[in-house]
């Protein structure tokens, strides 16, 4: 089999040695095709967002009749109809509050536990770490009914506690922070802290957390995005429309404005623009984070 392959390869390499000119025009065509594919895919990725922005600025009658390619002047009108019915900015503030508090809790406790697993030798440590990894395999909605009933008996329904407190237990965060502690926290620093008489928690706060900052930023971005887009849990545990985060408000917009397309498009624009701005600021960090996470996996 191997020998066969190499013969085929040889015959290929012979056929490749053609005249220089033919080779050049071929590679030019190849490059052209490659760039054409890249640009076509990029176009497909961005077109829905362009269409959304253009359409949000037209009156309903135009949206229903024409293909819209350039922005119109009805954005403010559509926007007014939207906020008359759905408190979308309240939803925005709710989302920011839930996302920021969850992310802070997630980062602190992931770093604490990751550091604990990385630098201490306690009983059943390996078994417990395996248990943490095992919890990553559980699909998210397995316990959702029990979660709902339990939050009901805790009197926590219609509050933010069921959305924020579970962020303390993020298995991927612990796995990630343990790796980072293994590679970027030298044990000598901890020893020197102990010699200076610092308590273990103080060592974590004063010495370890600052060293972990770059990894915390990476983990924080992903925790932030995940929580920002969270939909099922808030929809289940929150009843008041005023308390809902942005994704649930967008779902409300869809059910309440069944024919008011202009207002719906404005709602979508308000949901996408912050993400677009956020992404354009930290896209390098996000992309390198995905790449790093993929290599770990």
């Amino acid at each position: 089999m191997k020998a066969n392959d190499s013969i085929v390869e040889k015959s290929f390499s012979f056929s490749k040695k053609k005249t220089k000119k033919e080779f050049n025009s071929k590679s030019f065509l190849g490059k052209f095709a490659v760039y054409f594919l890249l640009i076509a895919v990029a176009f497909t990725c961005l077109l829905p967002f362009y269409s959304m922005m253009v359409t949000s600025s037209h009156a309903n009658s135009d949206i229903a009749r024409k293909l819209l390619l350039v922005p119109g002047s009805e954005f403010i009108e559509n926007y007014k109809r939207l906020i008359d019915t759905v408190p979308i900015w309240r939803g925005f503030v709710n989302t920011v509050f839930i996302t920021v508090t969850s992310t802070v809790l997630n980062l602190y406790f992931s770093a604490l536990a990751g550091y604990g697993f990385s630098k201490y030798n306690f009983k059943y440590k390996n078994l417990l770490f395996l248990a943490v990894l095992g919890t990553m395999m559980i699909p998210g909605q397995l316990g959702i009914i029990g979660f709902f009933k339990l939050m009901d008996s805790f009197q926590m329904l219609n509050t933010y506690w069921p959305l924020i407190l579970p962020s303390i237990s993020n298995a991927f965060g612990i796995f990630f922070m343990k790796q980072m502690c293994d590679s970027s926290i030298p044990t000598e620093i901890l020893e020197s802290g102990r010699i200076d008489g610092c308590g273990e928690l103080k060592i974590f706060h004063r010495l370890v957390l600052p060293l972990l900052m770059p990894s915390l930023a990476t983990l924080g971005i992903f925790s932030f995005i995940g929580k920002w887009n969270d939909f099922l849990t808030p929809m289940i545990v929150l009843f008041d429309n005023e308390l809902q985060p942005l994704p649930v408000m967008i779902a409300m917009v869809k059910s309440q404005f069944s024919t008011d397309f202009g207002a719906m498009y404005v709602g979508i624009v308000i949901s996408v623009i912050p993400i677009l701005i956020f992404f354009s600021m930290v896209s390098k960090k996000i992309i390198s984070g995905v790449t790093a996470g993929a290599l770990k996996g």
Partner: protein, 294 residues
Amino acid sequence: MRTSSINKSKYGFYFVLPYFIAFLIFGLVPIIFSLYLSFTKWDGFSDPVFVGLDNYARLLKDTFFFKAIGNTLIIWILSIVPQLVLALALAMILNEKFIRGKHFFRAVFYFPNIVTPVTLGVLFSLMFDWQTGSVNKFLMGIGLIDDPVNWFNSPWLSRFIVAGVIMWQYFGFNMLVFIAGLQSISEELYEAARVDGASKWDIATKITLPLLRPVLLFTFITSVIGGLQLFDAPLMLGNGPDNSTLTMVMYLFQTAFQRFDYSYGAAIAYAIFIIILFFSLITMKFSKMNKVEQ
């Protein structure tokens, strides 16, 4: 000295303790509680009444649930196959040295992945609206069709749209994973191949693809777990004609939180878990068999 090191170990345990307490309360207890509820009849208002395996017996005869399993698998396959092919092709292109604007393309391809799935669902349901949507307007504008297509009136077109949205949202993520895999392949291998006079096609099929195999399998396995839990975007695109785009988790949500049949919802949640476990084990077994053959 010895006592102090024992003391220190104890701190490690304290540091990991919050995770386990939070997981116990918000993860494990709800999961066990769900299992108990799945053996009861509970509508959310009165107290749960123990009914044994009734919910599971009902589930085995529930044609909606079997339809939802089928829909989920169809949509998953329709989205995963073109998604991985496109992601792989783009990753190999963007790994070439001569391409300019690599960061721009990576960023643009990845961007749909971080946009709120619910928002994307609403956006695409508007764009594919048969009377007012911009897709029909565009297709009529370039003369491809004469009359508007009623997308969400056809079971297969609806499934293609849902699968298309999922593919559109995730191919960029998979592309980044593949690029990471490609970058971990040693440059020396490529050098050696070039010295031997191998063409680009040879290098791609004889070096890159075989070495990328573990990454491809990993992506495939993780996509089983994610793909069978499709929910946000399909929910916004609707159940489809004759429930043709009703996914398993949508059925769970609608049963429990819209029809208030919580105990039956709990049984559905466990059935979904078993189905996901089943398909993950199949893919893992399949990938192990491949390894043995090599």
